[in-house]
Assembly symmetry: C2
Homo-oligomer: 193 residues x 2
């Protein structure tokens, strides 16, 4: 048989397309192989089984997401930066639902590459918070609040959990406005007992 010219990147890229199409949890090695015109066991030359493919896909998506967020935030500060990154985050989740789902799986503690990819996303958010004058402990709390709000929104909207679709943009804008208010208050307010 002629070689298919496969490599890890092509396998993961095909898996990403498929994940966005049919859902992250439904990708199988069999379907990826079929789309690549190759037999299933051939994939084991490039990824470490289904679990390895999922890990690779998670890293791909985290890097893509970090790139999108960084590009959106560059040259902006304060509320502008917040809105730009939040919009980019939501847009990525909606346009690439399978990849986005892959970004949420927590890396294994000892998996340096995976953790590095996750940290790249975090770094953009931290930069936005620095624009609010936040540093030290409040950054930790603020990051968690931001992540929770943005992820919760993205996950629910992606799943079609918001009944009427027409006002969703307005709702999201309000959420971001409220996050902006919260962030401006973080520096001043004392920690709750």
């Amino acid at each position: 048989m002629a070689r298919a010219g496969l490599n890890r990147g092509r396998v993961v890229a095909q898996a990403a397309v498929l994940a966005d199409d049919i859902g992250l949890e439904r990708i199988t090695l069999a379907s990826v192989a079929k789309h690549l015109g190759v037999r299933l066991p051939s994939l084991y030359n490039h990824v470490e089984g289904l679990e390895g493919l999922r890990r690779e896909l998670s890293m791909l998506a985290l890097r893509e997401l970090a790139g999108q967020l960084g590009a959106a935030a560059v040259g902006k500060a304060g509320k502008d930066a917040l809105r730009a990154t939040a919009d980019a985050y939501r847009a990525y989740a909606l346009r690439f639902p399978g990849r986005y789902a892959a970004t949420v799986t927590a890396p294994a503690p000892a998996d340096d590459d995976h953790n590095e990819a996750a940290a790249a996303v975090l770094q953009v958010v931290v930069s936005v918070l620095h624009g609010y004058g936040l540093a030290g402990d409040p950054v930790i709390h603020a990051v968690r609040e931001l992540r929770a709000s943005m992820h919760g929104w993205a996950d629910l909207e992606k799943r079609g959990a918001f009944g009427m679709p027409h006002d969703v943009d307005v709702s999201y804008q309000r959420l971001i406005d409220h996050l902006h208010v919260s962030l401006t208050q973080y520096a001043d307010e004392p920690a709750p007992q």
Copy 2:
């Protein structure tokens, strides 16, 4: 063979225990049957395959969650009600991670029973918002903001996405405090253009 005395409730209850134990996406009809001391095909007398079991599990969890939230909110109003329901929501997700995951799958539009179970949860949240004097359109936006924040937090914490565990309670308290501020502002503020 003596009859196992199975019924839909026992099958779904076993699936719930298993989902909390090994994760919602990892439950199989085979493992449920094994724990019930029965052969796999016997389950088809009580649930409509794996998909049917997942649906039943989602309804069970939604009803449980609605009960927990309702019990937490009863007799309270305003910030007290918000904090009580938010704490109950978080506690349910952490104590029953598999069931909680099942609550998030959106019901099929034509699935009346499933939609009714989901509406019961929504109803508690709406009641809390009434305590803030919210009605009409702002309720829609506020519900979405609340759900996104609470679900995002629960989902991330459940996945172990928050690095250092010791300050998580404080972070959550701040998130709720900020939601309280947002909700009190909802009635006054005009919709963003």
